[in-house]
Symmetry: D2
Subunit: 148 residues, 4 copies
Amino acid sequence: MSSPASRPSTDWQQAHLWPIRVYYEDTDAGGVVFYANYLKFMERARTEWLRTLKINQQHLSLTQGVMFVVSQLDMQYKLPARLDDALSVETVVTQVGRASMTFAQRVMRHTATLALGDIRVGCVDICSFKPTALPADVRTQVSLLTKR
Amino acid sequence: MSSPASRPSTDWQQAHLWPIRVYYEDTDAGGVVFYANYLKFMERARTEWLRTLKINQQHLSLTQGVMFVVSQLDMQYKLPARLDDALSVETVVTQVGRASMTFAQRVMRHTATLALGDIRVGCVDICSFKPTALPADVRTQVSLLTKR
Amino acid sequence: MSSPASRPSTDWQQAHLWPIRVYYEDTDAGGVVFYANYLKFMERARTEWLRTLKINQQHLSLTQGVMFVVSQLDMQYKLPARLDDALSVETVVTQVGRASMTFAQRVMRHTATLALGDIRVGCVDICSFKPTALPADVRTQVSLLTKR
Amino acid sequence: MSSPASRPSTDWQQAHLWPIRVYYEDTDAGGVVFYANYLKFMERARTEWLRTLKINQQHLSLTQGVMFVVSQLDMQYKLPARLDDALSVETVVTQVGRASMTFAQRVMRHTATLALGDIRVGCVDICSFKPTALPADVRTQVSLLTKR
């Protein structure tokens, strides 16, 4: 259970940032954000990162018959987030394959890292859920980013 | 803001019962079940009630091209539910229309009513979301129930 | 099952606006936003409306020992919201009582009303959950708004 | 990103089983269970496993001032679950430390493994969230299990 996201080599300087506010819906009776809900925050951030590349998932699904699904994730939870907290999710693409992308993501409160993870996302056919090559334009745009 | 579910006339003796256990995922930082999550409990109970009539929603959608959607709801919240509570959802059909069904539902902890509501569910085409007549077999089965 | 929010008299011109983006987490297998999740959107909007009045719920709970809980709601669902939709929640206070506030809220996509509701929120003691008078400063600020 | 849960050495024969039914609330617009919701299913199963040991989390929190929080997780998603699926979560304790427990868990549909993961759960003080030794009786009971 080691998480590459905690590698010193991840270049967070290049990260995409997405703000998240914590509402009642996100918390649990422990008084803090429920552990599964960090995955929602991270999914929102990946979606917004895709949107900056002009990639709309609804559109991809309708026009190319493909969608992205998470195939693997490693998470480390460091500190709890609480109601009304203003958080930020940092997203970096660490690898682009034929039919998958890997992200390192961190949930931050100011300079404190609350949670961090590595998430592998596969591109699949919307009907069969079989792995499918990334659409060419997605691949091109994402690859440009990872080479910067 | 008056709720027919609180009418003395609702015959809860005939209600379908569905047990619900409260987990961390259901609660919020107030230490109690988050208000929107009672709607999940009630939807589970309606689904299980349909299953007792041999009505499977996945099947309806694939074979008849229709699905059920909530079109209206009135809820009253009386007492909070807490982590680890063993609850029961009571479900009664109160009306069957051409393209809709209305339910009265109560979330109970032993004899205490925690929440109660009236929920109108419409039958719609899965593509257009336009109201569509209830499938004949669904209508027949549900009508038998409401006449008992 | 009639909803005051649909009264012609609600003055939506004065409404507080809060933008909501629809993510995968909000949708269900019907391809649209799950009905309970509109209540999350509306709770976020009420929270942000309170924040514009400098009312922070975490702070209220810690300093005054009170919290807000929904005691009653009437919802009407008109049109489905879908993945990637950019929505707006409109919030108007329609009544302020000794220990409660009532809101009319609408979830809009451009000029289309997708869902609308009336929500009564009670102020309760965080331990006993018994109704408690609204803190004086909250009452003052909210009353000013409703008199405008 | 390697997951010990996929090690051939995990003894699933000894696993605790917990049934899960998939409802609309669990699915997303991809037509399948949303990836974060598997963590809810696994948390329910761990809670029920604790309950078989007569360990009630609400009680632990009130009497001993401790709670369990997830500190690390590795997940692999193999096959999608769909609406109405009847699933089973298998839970095995793989390690017991002074202030933590590690679980291997699998979400199954009949004999097919849909998702599997390793989850490390820490015991923390409910106020400070600092790691705290497992209560003696919890440790005793869980250790007996892992030695079988």
